[in-house]
Symmetry: C2
Subunit: 451 residues, 2 copies
């Protein structure tokens, strides 16, 4: 039987070890002597972020205070969970990746609703597969869009609504739909008001990629049976630590500072995030949007053309040791790596010794699976260090809601800091507008004929 560990969760929920970012092997790591200078340069940056937060410009930093949203999510999830068995989540980008990540990491076995994600793609084959499985009487829809103008979720929504209305009738269908959208304006708000859908708010001052700990991500998570309140506990702890900790002990601040230093001084433009553990498989997909869309910018905040940006790569340990680590050890020195290590798995297994005379397996006997996974991460980090490859590790005690909430805010805050360091607006996405206009033209939308 798996050995189940039920430790009380203690702070810190997340800890960043950057000693191998500065190990001075070769010349593609940061010299240790520069750390003090880096810390000195980071202090005004931290102050700037805190000032933006205190003056109400950084909505995501105030998430722990949005207690009304949290209560609304918990109450809605409780009701919807009593009424339905399956929740179809329709969203894309920040309205999709965060909730997927939470469900993959934290859904308790055998508890909560079944969650199906759609609308991440307008893929007809995927839609057909979903429709084969659904029992509409037991299915609710959570459509998520701040504006209701995004084509992928809205096309999926009108299709699914059509099937839902055919299955349960137009009068009854409204009870099956929960719209997460702007509280006042936009296409989805208009539809929800007309149809009488239940709604949850998308905070006006929080962008999509920073919204996983708002109702956008929390509602699907709560429906999945995840104690969402504990996510916010981890989120708050990291924020308060960011404000209080000494610079050199300040995880998100040092993470951003070290990435930026590699970027400007050693052209390390690729950021590999490599969690070890299946439950964090989707964490990298969530991080990719945050890091790429926030920092990949043509102009800096003064209008100068800079074409900045890190290219994030989502890797997974131990899997990618057999796929990407050859490149990371021997290829160009154009990247940094960050591991996420889970210190204690929830279950563990001791390996038996069925073939004591066969050395190729016998040496594993008595070791635990979790121990092997630790050894894999430690050995990979060591080999990379010997090859002069800068690598850091974020430790979490286990994959608890507190730790995941802490990891989320660690990287959210690091992104805000990195935006300050690169001097770009980390909260807009002007580079996707042209593509949208071309698409509207191709589809014959009014007003886009001449684009």
């Amino acid at each position: 039987m798996p050995k189940t560990t039920k430790k009380a969760e203690v702070k810190p929920f997340v800890r960043f070890d950057y000693s191998r970012m500065t190990a001075e092997r070769g010349n593609m790591m940061m010299p240790k002597a520069d750390l003090i200078d880096l810390a000195r340069r980071l202090e005004p940056v931290r102050a700037a972020v805190i000032k933006q937060w205190r003056s109400g410009q950084l909505g995501f930093m105030a998430i722990p205070e949005r207690t009304a949203d949290l209560k609304a999510v918990e109450a809605m999830a409780k009701t919807v969970g009593r009424e339905f068995k399956t929740l179809v989540v329709i969203g894309i980008g920040g309205s999709d990746l965060g909730a997927r990540m939470l469900v993959k990491a934290l859904k308790p076995a055998g508890k909560g609703m079944e969650i199906r994600f759609i609308g991440a793609n307008t893929d007809p084959d995927e839609m057909a597969a979903l429709l084969r499985d659904l029992d509409w009487r037991k299915t609710a829809i959570n459509v998520i869009s701040k504006s209701g103008d995004t084509i992928e979720p809205m096309s999926a929504f009108v299709l699914l609504r059509d099937r839902l209305v055919k299955a349960v009738g137009v009068n009854r269908h409204a009870r099956h739909v929960i719209a997460t959208t702007d509280t006042e304006k936009g296409t989805l708000r208009k539809i929800a008001d007309r149809e009488g859908y239940r709604t949850l708010p998308v905070p006006a001052d929080i962008g999509g990629r920073f919204s996983v700990l708002t109702p956008v991500g929390l509602f699907p998570a709560a429906c999945a049976g995840i104690p969402v309140r504990r996510l916010v506990v981890g989120c708050r702890a990291v924020r308060d630590e960011f404000a209080a900790a000494k610079t050199m002990d300040n995880g998100p601040l040092m993470f951003a500072g070290l990435q930026h230093d590699g970027y400007v001084r050693r052209s390390q433009h690729i950021t590999v995030l490599m969690p070890y553990g299946e439950r964090l498989r989707e964490f990298g997909s969530w991080f990719r949007q945050l890091w790429a869309e926030s920092l990949g910018k043509r102009l800096d905040r003064h209008g100068k053309v800079v074409n900045h940006g890190f290219t994030p790569v989502a890797a997974l340990g131990a899997t990618d040791q057999h796929s990407q680590v050859q490149l990371y050890n021997e290829g160009p020195f154009d990247k940094t790596l960050t591991f996420i290590e889970v210190e204690s798995p929830d279950a563990d297994f001791r390996l038996p010794n069925p073939y004591p005379d066969i050395e190729g397996t016998a040496y594993m006997a008595g070791h635990r699976l979790g121990e092997i996974l630790h050894a894999e991460r430690a050995a990979t980090s060591l080999a990379l260090t010997e090859n002069g490859r800068p690598n850091g590790t974020v430790f979490v005690p286990r994959v608890s809601p507190e730790a995941v909430g802490a990891l989320v805010n660690f990287f959210q805050i690091a992104t805000a800091v990195a935006g300050e360091l690169l001097d770009v607006n980390a909260y807009d996405q002007p580079g996707v507008e042209a593509g949208k206009k071309h698409m509207y033209k191709l589809l014959g939308r009014k007003g886009f004929e001449k684009f």
Copy 2:
């Protein structure tokens, strides 16, 4: 109801459009005038690859002739499918990613065995989740390892074998295990012979990352109900086309040539592969290993330190338009993009018009989901081109077994060509050995104490 298209599959199964790699917007695309010179330089490279193939040095190029393996796979899958309902596949890297990709792309709904992948990680939490679900009487194990010395699959195997033996008895358990391994030597061969497991061959001359169309990937695919013979039809078509086509019409050759040109002349070290469509979601994970592990090398073939390598990025359309495309349009000019476009989905859906007076959704009415997905790809490619970002598109008529087999060999051959161009050994992986030794030492394996 979804409109189902059952077209006969016609060649070419795959077509590469590179016109937007050379569109001469800005100075980070290849000048069109250089194409003829590139083609001239590629001819001897093609000849070299063909010579290696004809002289028996490139095992993967001869896969279409391995008809005995194909028959063995089909026969074994038929028997195992009659005896069991679920197949647990234990493998990592090339023994895992290829089969996962095939099953995701091609598993027919409601047919074949249920396939569960494990051993991609030695993750105890994942193992616990798997064990909760399995009914051993109806479950077979396919353990895949050429040598049987790889710790991740072998640790998962001894654990699962232990549970299997407890559930069905040591005498009966052998019938549940199919080992895909070397025909003569290695730890897993020794175990299989001793236990009397049924086996399938890993061809001695084909490396893991080139093995998806050998029994390594074909057996799980066949168990999933995929007509694997048709995969090989596509594989063969691309190989024969590579040998016969004019240089400028030669997809894999031009793909590798254009990537290499961007790499050496414009420092474009990042290769983004972005299929549009949910069924190709795992294709990028398979491609990542092939491209990274083959070409990411410290030394060239003459022993000179070069630290070469492309960093592959697996993206997915339309999803990543809302995550990565901001960076691709506005960030550093350090990458090329390759889309995969599926010309006809198997099913499609016409959008209804529930709110004719709400322009934010009404403009979609009458369009089909598949049409929107096409428009998204076309619009994204256009916007990237306007921003001077080199991008190509690989077209497949639909996600058929022939097309997937063709896509696989397109990128396998392109990798061989790129290896020639970079002058590196594309078939070894020396950069992962140090990490393995460190791990053995941490686990106390004999002979690694002093490493």
